[in-house]
């Protein structure tokens, strides 16, 4: 009896793992087998992955391009802003932080509808990749700001800056010589989060994309709807290969930033 109640947590943990892991394995196997319905006995092949590359390589490159552009924009917008928020932890800063965090609370679909209604009629903009980029930046910016801010909040910025100022450093030098190097673990964690989330973003992107601008997840949705299971699986496999290392790097960087804070 006692051993039964003791083992319940272990069983729940293992079942949860199985629930999460089995379909991932299925997808990986399906993408590599010749015929999924006949099973592994039909043999392994890279044919489907090759087909995915032919069909969807442009969407993969677009996603990588968007993720990097998104990173640059969030760095430029987010890091100086996090610094300003850290130096002025007042009511106005709280409200602004709240405002930029709205895309985490409001479903992406609603944000996308809002963007479409205001800017959808500017045709050149609507059909340009930067329109999707706007959505990605909205969604990832709070992560960059918060990650940087959480590291800055643990540093006695005022004293460090007074020290630098007493040595003759002006505001801009202080920002690049003192603030950025000290916030680096947070910026790195934020950067990896931004890239990971941007590559996987679907909710906003599906509404903002045009037929000629398909990102990786949009392509995935497309393949799930119209391709045979093996191709869809192979495409998912390609996505895993890109996203899992990023996720691991992101978790490593976040853990490192947290450790630094203690």
């Amino acid at each position: 009896m006692k051993s039964l109640t003791r083992s319940i947590p272990m069983v729940v943990t293992l079942l949860a793992c199985a629930f999460l892991f089995i379909p991932i394995m299925q997808s990986v196997l399906a993408g590599l087998t010749v015929n999924y319905f006949r099973g592994l006995s039909s043999g392994l092949t890279l044919k489907w992955v090759g087909q995915v590359w032919q069909l969807y390589s442009s969407s993969i490159f677009l996603s990588i391009w968007l993720a990097l552009a998104c990173l640059v924009v969030t760095l430029i917008l987010g890091v100086p802003a996090a610094y300003a928020l850290a130096r002025n932890p007042g009511r106005a800063s709280r409200i602004l932080e709240e405002l930029i965090s709205l895309p985490l609370a409001i479903p992406g679909l609603a944000i996308a509808l809002a963007l479409l209604q205001l800017y959808g009629s500017y045709h050149g903009f609507r059909t340009h990749w930067s329109f999707i980029l706007i959505g990605h930046v909205l969604y990832t910016l709070p992560f960059m700001v918060r990650s940087t801010l959480s590291v800055l909040a643990t540093i006695d910025l005022t004293t460090l800056e007074e020290g630098a100022a007493s040595l003759g450093a002006g505001p801009l030098r202080r920002f690049f010589d003192i603030v950025v190097p000290n916030a680096l673990p947070g910026i790195l964690a934020g950067a990896l989060t931004v890239v990971t989330l941007s590559i996987g973003e679907f909710n906003l992107t599906w509404m903002l994309h045009t037929p000629y601008l398909k990102t990786l997840p949009v392509g995935l949705a497309d393949s799930y709807a119209s391709m045979r299971l093996e191709v869809a699986s192979a495409y998912t496999l390609v996505f895993f290969v890109i996203i899992v290392p990023l996720l691991m790097a992101m978790q490593w960087a976040s853990a490192r930033a947290q450790r630094n804070m203690q």
């Binding site: 729940v12 802003a81 610094y83 205001l118 799930y224 699986s233």
Partner: protein, 297 residues
């Protein structure tokens, strides 16, 4: 405001033969610093106004632009299709939240309190889906419970659940388990282990340690994680989209109103309702738990 205290002190050239750097002698250091901070904030403020605040305001105004005017919000409550979609979304989201909390708290406490070989493998597996978008999760649920899914293959009875409420529930659950787990584990690691020892010396059996010590200590994290799970399920679009269910959840209704019926005002109104419900909920949860919460995903 930063005030280095130099404003009141006149420059003292006697300190050095060489003139002091500009920033030190000028009396407007604080002003300069303030200007620089404003400059740092400016790009973010402009971006947020242009692409977030104004579009959301426009969305809200658009919801009142149909023939119904602002009565459109009343119509949501009077139209069974919208009302049932709203109810259905709330019910599924609540069920997912409850299930994710139970599973992730159990697994999270188990992983924090036990060291064993393979623990890190389990932990990695449980956090792997963090970066999966809803579409991929939907596809994985199809692989499990679709017409050609695993369950249908190994169980003789023709059991296909991917396209029903069950599939949607499992998809959202798949999405929520890693998020709740990480929050619970982070909080559980911070609990002082001597609290548990103290309860033991007072004679408490292990189940009472869970109910009297661990769960109360975890409750802020559980509220936070629960709110994340609920908000994510409320707004989840990709999963429902891939499963292409005939169950009307609110995000799918908004999508069809917008694309198929071109009913912009109603799509906008429903979006406002959906956004407001999740935002208010996260706000309440945050004030209860005292932590910053983000839905994400």
């Amino acid at each position: 405001m930063p005030d280095f205290g130099w404003g009141a002190v006149p420059s003292r050239p006697s300190l050095s033969d060489r003139p002091l750097p500009d920033t030190l002698v000028s009396g407007d250091v604080a002003v300069k610093q303030r200007q620089f901070l404003s400059l740092c904030l400016l790009p973010l403020v402009i971006f947020t106004l242009a692409f977030l605040a104004i579009p959301i305001a426009r969305l809200f105004l658009a919801s009142g632009e149909s023939a119904d005017g602002w009565a459109i919000y009343l119509r949501i409550l009077q139209t069974p299709r919208y009302l049932s979609a709203l109810m259905q979304t709330v019910v599924v989201s609540l069920a997912v939240t409850a299930a994710a909390l139970v599973i992730s708290t159990t697994a999270g406490l188990y992983l924090v309190r036990n060291q064993f070989p393979g623990r890190n493998v389990l932990l990695s597996t449980l956090t792997l889906p963090l970066a999966f978008p809803g579409v991929v999760v939907g596809f994985l649920i199809i692989l499990l419970g679709g017409r050609q899914g695993l369950v249908n293959q190994i169980l003789p009875g023709y059991w296909v659940f991917a396209y029903s409420v069950t599939g949607l529930f499992l998809g959202y659950l798949y999405f929520s388990i890693p998020r709740v787990l990480l929050t619970v584990m982070a909080a559980a690691e911070k609990i002082d282990p001597t609290l548990e020892e103290a309860a033991k010396t007072l004679g408490a059996p292990s189940w009472r340690i869970v109910t009297d010590i661990l769960l109360p200590a975890l409750s802020p994290a559980l509220i936070a994680a629960g709110a994340i799970a609920f908000a994510t399920a409320m707004g989840a679009f990709g999963t429902a989209f891939t499963l292409a269910t005939d169950i009307d959840v609110l995000p799918m209704v908004i999508y069809t109103e917008f694309t198929l019926s071109a009913n912009i005002a109603m799509a906008s109104a429903l979006s406002v309702v959906l956004g407001l419900v999740t935002w208010v909920l996260l706000l309440i949860a945050r004030s209860l738990s005292g932590e910053t919460i983000a839905a994400g995903g």
